[in-house]
């Protein structure tokens, strides 16, 4: 992504415009039952040190044995990122001493990662799209959790998370604004959730970002970067990057220079601060892990995983647009969450005439259902209206059995009381009247009773609306609006 940066993305400084350069390292917890190198559970929130085996606790003599499902998940993710899959990769030890890491090293992939270069297409609010390059994806172990406020004089260590598989996904320094960085994380999260390789739950820390930020004058070589560690919400990623870029610009414009360092974002103060002093700068002394052979698999292995991949959000969006004539915006809204897309697809599958009513279904799912769910603070999984009920309502509208207005009443009944929409329409007499004869009688009565209005409407056709209102009122809203319009036009001669 080396296109010239839009002027609107630049930051105004005292000495001219500045450009941000952002690269992200995303740590995504792999969806698996057991840990990367042991048979203990990955379940969140167990009692302290319950999901810990002697391997995870790094007892002497314990040997790691890789969980094959974690390997598959990494390959699936690589395929979903259009990335090169490396059929031979190796594990290395990243050495550092900290109480959350009982081995004294993290098993990671340094020299030869399982996945190489790929790319992700992002979309911004203004409709602009951009491509962000992926540098690599590798498998590694998560660390344990330290609790500092349980005991007045000691730090408490819980190793439940120790050894859980992570995918570290490293982007190229391709982003030029905090919005792009946020769009990238959202898109990556959507892709991972479609693939089922990570649940993307940022609140539980299952997806977190290290943000590398530097600034430069447009066209200059890259500036010195700072890394903001472990930012765990998309909103904070935006705030942390904006703060950090402005901090760096302030230093540079005052004639200072940037120290390459690791920083932390404090959401309460809205600022980043230095995490470690220079002397503590990590020297990880990587070397190949002698406990693990190279990870190798065949082309067929990759092909089999590729064949099982679900349809991904970009493909799904394109299909919604081409097959059902949805707008790009509506299609994007429907595909952003896998559950929403599945609900829409199930609704489509229940329709009598998909080609005719697909677009109508999208409008109803987005505006009526998602709108209502949002208002009530519910999500699609707890929707009181099922996809089958939604399809029935849309069928009834599409076939002209009920009007759009009546359909909203019907939706309300289904939402609060439940029931089969088709039966409800019958039982409660909500059917639209399309019988021209019956409507004609009503139209004739109203015309006969209001000669003055007839004269007015003939002089000023816009006043026909009054007649439409009267007819709808006397039919209880059930007259087919198109039939009413046509009849009135011919009877009033306008």
């Amino acid at each position: 992504m080396n296109a010239p940066v839009k002027p609107s993305k630049l930051i105004k400084g005292a000495t001219g415009d500045w450009e941000m350069v952002i690269g992200l390292e995303i740590h995504a917890q792999v969806n698996s039952h057991a840990k990367l190198f042991s048979g203990s559970s990955t379940e969140f929130g167990g009692a302290p040190n319950s999901h810990v085996s002697l391997v995870d606790a790094a007892m002497p003599g314990m040997l790691p044995v890789i969980n094959e499902e974690c390997v598959k998940q990494a390959v699936r993710t690589g395929l979903g990122l259009n990335a090169q899959i490396n059929r031979r990769s190796t594990f290395d030890r990243k050495n550092y001493f900290y109480p959350d890491l009982p081995q004294g090293y993290q098993i990671s992939q340094y020299k030869s990662p399982i996945v190489g270069e790929g790319e992700v297409t992002i979309e911004l609010a203004d409709g602009e799209t951009a491509t962000v390059g992926i540098e690599r994806l590798h498998l590694e172990q998560d660390a344990g959790k330290l609790v500092h406020d349980r005991n007045p004089s000691s730090t408490s260590v819980d190793l439940n998370r120790s050894g859980v598989a992570l995918m570290e996904i490293v982007s190229k320094p391709d982003m030029r604004s905090s919005e792009q960085a946020q769009a990238y994380v959202s898109k990556l999260r959507t892709i991972l959730r479609y693939l089922g390789t990570c649940d993307g739950d940022m609140e539980k820390g299952n997806l977190r970002a290290d943000c590398n930020v530097s600034v430069r004058k447009p066209g200059d070589p890259l500036g010195t970067r700072c890394e903001i560690k472990n930012v765990n919400s998309i909103r904070f990623i935006g705030q942390a990057i904006d703060y950090e870029a402005r901090r760096q610009i302030g230093i540079l414009e005052d004639g200072g220079s940037i120290d390459q360092e690791t920083r932390l974002y404090d959401p309460n103060k809205g600022e980043t601060r230095s995490m470690r002093s220079k002397e503590e700068a990590h020297d990880y002394r990587y070397f190949p892990d002698p406990d693990l052979l190279p990870l190798e698999f065949s082309e067929d292995y990759v092909a089999a995983l590729k064949a099982e991949l679900p349809e991904l959000p970009d493909e799904k969006k394109a299909r919604f647009i081409s097959a059902f004539g949805l707008s790009a915006y509506d299609a994007a809204v429907l595909v952003v969450e896998r559950e929403s897309a599945e609900f829409f697809e199930t609704t489509l599958a229940g329709l009598a005439d998909k080609a005719r009513d697909g677009k109508l279904a999208a409008n109803w799912v987005i505006n009526e259902l998602f709108g209502r769910l949002n208002k009530e603070g519910q999500d699609i999984a707890s929707s009181p209206v099922s996809a089958a009920q939604m399809a029935a309502i849309i069928d009834l509208i599409g076939a002209g059995v009920i009007s759009g207005k009546i359909a909203k009443d019907l939706f309300e009944i289904v939402w609060t009381e439940g029931g089969d929409p088709r039966a409800l329409v019958e039982e409660r007499g909500m059917k639209q009247v399309t019988d021209t004869g019956a409507i004609e009688k009503v139209v004739d009565d109203i015309i006969a009773a209001n000669p003055d209005k007839v004269a007015q409407a003939q002089a000023k056709p816009a006043l026909m609306g009054w007649f439409v209102g009267q007819v709808m009122k006397s039919s209880g809203g059930k007259a087919n609006p198109q039939v009413v319009n046509d009849l009135l036009k011919s009877k009033l001669g306008i």
Partner: protein, 95 residues
């Protein structure tokens, strides 16, 4: 390649091993002796030779994604110098 006294102290610090000044010369000698052996190995020309990862060519053993370990908290914490409510306790570390 050889290490000086400062490098010995730095490596000890990275590993959080307390080394007294009196121990440094001895450790420096030991490390340099080991590095001398490695230096000898460097003399062998390995151009075009794949790194050997095992004596017998074999595939890495893999496990199925099944939970069959853990839930042994008493065993895991049994040898901890200090523990409390099944947490390990370590000297206070706060960023």
């Amino acid at each position: 390649m050889s290490v000086d006294a400062a490098t010995v102290r730095r490596i000890a610090h990275l590993a959080r091993i307390a080394v007294t000044d009196a121990e440094v010369p001895h450790l420096q000698g030991e490390l340099n002796a080991m590095l001398a052996f490695v230096e000898q190995l460097q003399e062998v020309n390995v151009d075009g030779v794949e790194p050997m990862t095992s004596v017998m060519p074999m595939e890495m053993k893999k496990r199925a994604d099944v939970v069959n370990d853990g839930e042994i908290v008493d065993a895991v914490t049994a040898n901890a110098p200090e523990s409390e409510d099944h947490f390990f306790l370590v000297p206070k570390v706060v960023e």
